[in-house]
């Protein structure tokens, strides 16, 4: 994200981004309290703790499906002194923060160590736990999340450490659309020392937390606003979660440059909204425009939910699309 580039081509628009802030206003504080008690949160709490507490080297195979068929690649992960290194060390996660190395310096991808949690699981989900299969020769405990009786996500965690060793996601028809699993893993050893994290220069790009008080707090399908950010190029990110899946909606000033989009996407319509949709290892990316604004949604939610998200944010009503427009175009201050 070098400079997070000039996303608006040719001439700066001079449009100030976002936001009236709710300084110190809790984001779903009640939900956060509830969140600590659901099995999925407990499992991921242990997973985060495992990365902090153990040194290990592993290889994670990622399989996902797009229109060309199944795609797969393998990624090295190294946990050392409490920090997680991915992609040959080009991405680093430490204590809730994340950085990416670009050119010759570190860019902050996620700079706020506060533990922003998803809301408690939406009532649309049912959760069960039980013994799981061996993954890389290690016994696991299984968390299964179902919707309407069909599994949407299955997580196998290492019994000893809590490390997530395998994660499967399924589409509404029950077909797998994503698997991430360790295919090699050294025996986790207690952490040796403490990482200092990377040296990030003061002028390095990064995101800043903002909480727009007029952005939609909830979307169809039980998605709640859990966080909001502003990037150096004044793109804003609204982050929603239903307790299982997440969706980030990025809003930018200016009509979309359709020709600049990467090849490979598919033209789709969500009601009256024309969009381009991509499948990537992270899930789905949807890009659309309205009223001289450009929106990008990155989500691992199901196709049904993604349609609801786009529709909600595209409605011409006071708490939806037009609200986001004000959010993008209005004055702002930082929390």
């Amino acid at each position: 994200m070098t400079g997070l580039r000039a996303r608006v081509r040719l001439a700066p628009l001079g449009v100030a981004v976002a936001v009236v802030i709710a300084s110190g206003v809790p984001v779903h504080a009640a939900d956060r309290e509830r969140a600590g008690r659901n099995p999925a949160d407990r499992q991921f709490d242990r997973a985060r703790q495992a990365v902090r507490d153990y040194d290990f080297t592993g290889s994670v195979r990622i399989w996902w499906r797009d229109a060309r068929g199944g795609q797969a690649t393998t990624v090295a992960v190294v946990a050392r002194r409490g920090a997680l290194h991915v992609a040959g060390g080009q991405v680093l996660h430490d204590g809730g923060r994340a950085w990416m190395r670009t050119d010759r310096r570190w860019t902050t991808l996620w700079g706020d160590p506060r533990d922003v949690r998803a809301p408690s699981l939406s009532p649309k989900y049912q959760v069960s736990t039980g013994p799981g299969p061996e993954v890389v020769h290690r016994p696991t405990r299984l968390l299964t999340v179902r919707r309407g009786g069909a599994a949407v996500e299955v997580v196998a965690s290492d019994r000893e450490t809590g490390l997530v060793l395998r994660r499967d996601r399924f589409d509404p028809s029950g077909a797998p659309n994503l698997r991430m699993e360790f295919v090699a893993l050294t025996a986790p050893q207690p952490r040796q020392g403490r990482s200092d994290g990377p040296v990030v220069t003061p002028d390095a790009p990064g995101t800043r937390r903002v909480v727009p008080d007029d952005a939609r707090r909830s979307l169809t399908g039980g998605f709640a606003l859990v966080d909001a950010r502003e990037m150096p190029d004044r793109t804003t990110q609204l982050r929603y979660s239903d307790g299982v899946f997440e969706a980030s909606v990025f809003a930018q000033a200016g009509p979309i440059d359709w020709e600049a989009l990467p090849a490979g996407g598919r033209a789709v319509r969500y009601g009256p909204v024309h969009a381009r949709r991509y499948r990537v290892a992270s899930g789905t990316v949807i890009v659309w425009e309205s009223d001289d604004r450009t929106f990008t949604c990155v989500t691992d939610a199901t196709a049904v939910d993604e349609a609801g998200i786009v529709a909600d944010l595209s409605r011409e009503r006071g708490d939806g699309w037009s609200s986001v427009m004000r959010f993008v175009g209005g004055p702002f201050r930082w929390s």
């Binding site: 068929g69 199944g70 795609q71 690649t73 060390g89 190395r101 570190w106 040296v199 220069t201």
Partner: protein, 176 residues
């Protein structure tokens, strides 16, 4: 990356260059250790691909491309051994890679470059099998056919290469 080849046809040169050029470049980069040589290797390999398409039989496209890029690389290595050059650059500053600024280096920085440096340090006879197996994801059979050596030799060179890498990476603090 998994590539599903059409069962009823041979890809065009343009399709290969567009869809598998990235794969070729990645393998070339890991073999040569630098961008300039990788570009040259890919360019030369694609010339051979164009010539070879007339006789290509649909099968493992990545396997075929790997054989080509490996052969181009080995040909070049042999040529360099026959005609060693020791010319020094006119201005060393222009060709030396810039070092990291002290204030941007951390213990986490450059794992990838550490690994590549360790690969570069491997003798060619071990480096090639390691790259073909762990970067190009080729089977022992394919590696043996590509290099024209017995499968047992592939196995021993690959293991020796990984052990040498382990020593290098351990010395650099990348693995325990």
């Amino acid at each position: 990356m998994v590539v599903d080849m059409p069962s009823d046809g041979v890809p065009t040169w343009e399709e290969i260059a567009r869809d598998r050029g990235g794969f070729l470049y990645n393998v070339a980069y890991r073999l040569t250790g630098n961008a300039d040589d990788a570009r040259d290797l890919v360019q030369e390999s694609l010339l051979r691909v164009r010539r070879g398409l007339a006789t290509y039989e649909p099968g493992s496209l990545d396997g075929w491309l790997t054989r080509i890029v490996t052969n181009v690389f080995l040909d070049d290595m042999r040529r360099k051994k026959r005609r060693p050059t020791h010319a020094l650059p006119e201005n060393a500053d222009l060709v030396l890679p810039p070092s990291e600024a002290a204030d941007t280096v951390s213990d986490a920085a450059g794992l990838s470059s550490e690994i590549q440096a360790a690969i570069n340090a491997l003798p060619e006879e071990f480096r090639v099998p390691v790259v073909l197996c762990d970067v190009a994801d080729r089977s022992y059979d394919e590696i043996a056919a590509t290099l024209g050596i017995p499968i047992g030799t592939v196995r021993s060179r690959l293991h020796r290469g990984r052990r040498l890498l382990r020593g290098e990476l351990s010395a650099r603090g990348v693995v325990a």
